[in-house]
């Protein structure tokens, strides 16, 4: 530990009535930015954990809680090493400014790609272990015995002889002053907390209304703003007539924000009402006034072109010519919205020397930097108070709404809470990209697959962000280029096609698009080869023991091989790996004679290596499956004259209780050093499993989403 952080500790220790802070420069070697002492208070400390004299253990987490349970699963890593009494654990977010000042002390604080556990894990193990050794050493010094003769358990240090014990809180102050070296983290067989089903720590605050989401922040003297965007994205603002609303109650100002307008008022409702009444003349951009059909056609027209070849094996053209039989199928997915239930919002207070931002965001460091840039205030004076997120699913990693709120706050000079109405949230969205792709396959006379080709055409998120981006956007082809199947010869190529709409991350990213097409086409291959889809996958995956193991588990545990209760009920399956986690699923589906369909059950087999908290893990997989199902059945944004038609939750339907199938999850954990993500992977397999089941019942392939375009959904 450097002298510098040593000093931090001492300051901290005295400022918190003898608490122990453990925070060590795991990633901050050689970085020494001046630390501003006035920021140190008992609750704003650069450290992973605090032990109070009353035995409370305060643990800092560096990832954001958006429903996925990190506020519980991450502290488990520290608590386990610490041998803490779990009932004494409290959690708060790690301080973004401290992390910035100390060279990313807390690592990458962005929550994305289902990375929370895999990225934070080692730091948290180390933090807990170091604290444990310090506490043991402090207790040993107190007693005048050797640390080797003591051990820690359940929040206390004991002498091996059993003679005496001390609570962590009693030795915390001393523990912050001793030094320890060569601290070892536990090996899995000694885990005590990890792997136990542990109720979420954030639940009590979420059942009595006390949990503070971004939209719930109330700052003294705060005003509200709402924003209007041109419903045709990118077309711009012509003019508005503020005089028509200036005398409405509570209205403070209208601001032009580039292509958007903000209305500021004393309450949100006053702002919204004024916004509804404001005469606005949007510019029109003929090029952007496109319709669903025309956009779709653009995607399909690109399919025959060769695209940029990403991987290729064999003489494709020759093999296709030689094929005894060939099949060709086009797949397509529309734009879809994340639609987190809490509409986007951000509260900003800009002052001369500091800026405060209250927001639920997946990337608080990014928020800090963006706000610093816009306000010209040093990033170390931009304080990001990350709040609970009322869902995100990728949406709350975009900076668009933070930028708007900041621009408003700069001009208003009072704290401003900007809330996008649900309608703006839907219309000014950053959507999961639209995509079309073409598969072809050739078979020999014995029905053996000889060659497969794929050309995907997808809206690139990267290109939306950076018009200089070249080459293939990896996110567009994830799940395609890294597929596990053993094809004798193949070609995978890609083309980019961006429209005027803005694309962004959506739970499980490109995987949800590509797994749909890929896993449906695998079923088509199986049919052409006259084989059962599960058996056929086992054949194509014969070199992949992990996949085979998960498939075996799924086969054993699901209804796949069982007799169907009814003729109009059948099962479909899919398997896909993303974010280090393998998920296979069987969907049991019923089609009624009136053309209605229903998903009765989803059975999943999951291998993510290890699981920190089986409870939140199960919740995440279930939630991901249902998120996937919602998009499978309903997910579609319709473009009409350039604008999105589905502007609220009546038209943009979301799965409800009555449509929710039974869900069964089986863990097939491979263990070892592998900790795969759980917040997203199960989303991607649902659409293909459901569509494959529908084919078995009706003989009709569904190659575009949502399913509602083909079937009524019955409850």
């Amino acid at each position: 530990m450097s002298d510098f952080s040593r000093r931090d500790f001492l300051k901290v220790a005295t400022s918190t009535a003898g608490g122990l802070m453990v925070g060590f420069p795991l990633l901050s070697m050689g970085v020494s930015k001046p630390y501003e002492a006035k920021q140190i208070t008992a609750r704003e400390i650069n450290a992973w954990l605090v032990i109070e004299p009353d035995e409370t253990v305060l643990i800092r987490i560096a990832k954001a809680e958006m429903g996925q349970g990190v506020m519980t699963s991450l502290p488990m890593f520290i608590a386990d090493e610490l041998e803490a009494d779990w009932r004494k654990i409290k959690v708060e977010y790690a301080d973004v400014n401290r992390s910035a000042l100390r060279g990313q002390l807390y690592g990458d604080m962005t929550t994305r790609l289902s990375n929370s556990v895999s990225e934070s894990r080692l730091m948290m193990h180390a933090a807990g272990a170091e604290a444990r050794e310090r506490l043991i050493k402090a207790a040993a010094e107190t007693w005048g015995v050797r640390p080797e003769d003591c051990y820690a358990d359940y929040g206390r240090v004991y002498q091996n002889s059993g003679a005496q014990s001390l609570g962590y809180g009693e030795v915390a102050r001393l523990a912050s002053e001793v030094s320890v070296a060569n601290v070892k983290i536990k090996t899995p067989e000694f885990y005590s907390t990890l792997g136990l089903a542990t109720p979420r720590l954030d639940v009590p605050a979420k059942v009595d209304g006390s949990a503070v989401f971004g939209i719930d922040v109330r700052v003294p003297d705060m005003v509200y703003a709402t924003v209007l965007h041109n419903p045709v994205p990118g077309a711009g603002l012509q003019s508005m007539r503020f005089n028509a609303i200036r005398h409405m109650p509570g209205v403070i100002r209208a601001l032009r924000l580039g292509d958007a307008i903000a209305i500021v008022a004393e309450t949100f409702w006053q702002a919204k009402r004024a916004a509804d009444m404001l005469p606005v003349y949007w510019k029109s951009n003929e090029g952007n006034k496109r319709f669903d059909d025309t956009i779709k056609r653009e995607f399909f027209e690109k399919l025959p072109s060769p695209g940029e070849v990403m991987m290729r094996k064999g003489d494709i053209n020759q093999l296709m010519d030689d094929a005894e039989r060939s099949i060709e199928s086009d797949y397509y997915v529309p734009y879809v919205a994340q639609a987190p239930l809490e509409p986007l919002n951000c509260t900003v207070h800009v002052q001369e020397e500091r800026v405060d931002v209250w927001v639920g965001h997946q990337d608080p460091e990014g928020v800090m930097d963006v706000v610093a840039q816009l306000t010209g205030v040093s990033r170390y004076k931009v304080f990001v108070h990350n709040c609970f997120m009322g869902g995100s699913f990728g949406r709350r990693s975009h900076m668009d709404f933070v930028i708007e709120a900041t621009r408003i706050a700069i001009q208003i000079g009072r704290p401003v809470q900007m809330i996008w109405t649900r309608e703006e949230d839907m219309r000014a969205g950053g959507y999961r990209p639209m995509s079309a792709m073409r598969f072809k396959a050739g078979f020999d006379v014995e029905k053996n697959l000889t060659v497969i080709t794929n050309h995907s055409v997808t809206h690139s998120i990267e290109y939306d962000q950076d018009k200089n981006a070249t080459g293939v956007d990896e996110a567009s082809v994830e799940g395609l280029v890294d597929h596990p199947y053993r094809f004798p010869a193949y070609s995978f190529s890609h083309s980019r096609l961006n429209t005027h709409l803005k694309s962004w991350w959506w739970r499980s990213g490109g995987h949800s698009i590509n797994a749909f097409a890929m896993e449906c086409f695998i079923d088509e291959l199986a049919a052409a080869a006259e084989q059962d889809p599960l058996d056929y996958r086992k054949f194509l995956l014969r070199d992949e023991p992990d996949y085979l193991r998960v498939l075996d588990q799924l086969e054993r545990k699901s209804l796949y091989r069982k007799r169907r209760p009814r003729r109009n009920t059948d099962v479909g399956m899919a398997i896909h790996k993303s974010y280090g986690t393998l998920v296979a699923v069987v969907a049991e589906v019923t089609v009624e004679s009136n053309g209605g369909m229903r998903v009765d059950k989803l059975t999943a087999a999951v291998d993510c290596g290890n699981v920190a908290n089986p409870m939140t893990a199960e919740e995440q997989v279930e939630g991901s499956l249902l998120f996937g199902l919602s998009a499978t059945l309903y997910g579609k944004l319709t473009v009409e004259a350039g604008r999105i038609l589905e502007d609220n939750l009546d038209t943009y339907e979301i799965l409800r209780m009555e449509e929710t199938p039974e869900v069964e999850i089986h863990w097939e954990l491979s263990g070892g050093e592998h900790w795969g993500g759980l917040g997203e992977p199960a989303t991607a397999v649902v659409a293909p499993a459901v569509c494959n089941a529908l084919y078995k019942i009706t003989g009709r392939r569904i190659r575009s989403l949502p399913v509602r375009d083909y079937y009524l959904t019955v409850k």
């Binding site: 009595d208 987190p340 009322g390 249902l626 609220n648 939750l649 409800r656």
Partner: protein
């Protein structure tokens, strides 16, 4: 305007047309009641008026006068209502944003039907949960019904 919120008489200066949701959130700072859609489609704003579940985004301040308005904050001290306890025990919330509305709707359902069937639950619980906590919500409701029957 005068309201009775969580057993307290409160006077607030608002336009009578203001939806009750915003009176609760912006004037009274009772932020447990949530805004999700503003058009009655999601149920996040559900509160009880004389015990009935009402979407506060569709109910004006004027129309709320004279009723007993109950919000999540007024449901119990220390989250001790049986529904809240079942929610905690069942580890129901994920992001948690829909849960105030879910809980208030469930309270009304169980007051109405002591032992709701699956169909009753489907019919009453039309609230959207974007995180997909539906099966845990169902289980928690059934647990409360069972416990009430036992006692």
């Amino acid at each position: 305007m005068r309201f009775n919120v969580n057993d307290e008489d409160i006077e607030v200066d608002v336009d009578p047309e203001t939806p009750l949701l915003w009176v609760l959130r912006d004037n009274l700072h009772l932020t447990g009641t949530k805004y999700g859609c503003g058009i009655g489609a999601c149920g996040a704003c559900t509160i009880l008026m004389n015990g009935h579940p009402i979407k506060s985004c569709l109910t004006t301040a004027e129309a709320s006068q004279g009723y007993n308005i109950q919000t999540i904050e007024g449901l119990s001290e220390n989250a001790s209502h049986p529904i809240q306890l079942a929610w905690i025990e069942g580890d129901v919330p994920q992001c948690g944003y829909c849960q105030s509305g879910q809980i208030m709707t469930a309270v009304a359902l169980l007051n109405d039907k002591a032992n709701p069937s699956d169909e009753d639950i489907n019919e009453a619980m039309q609230n959207i949960c974007r995180c997909g906590t539906y099966s845990r919500i169902r289980a928690a409701i059934k647990k409360v019904a069972r416990e009430r029957a036992d006692s």
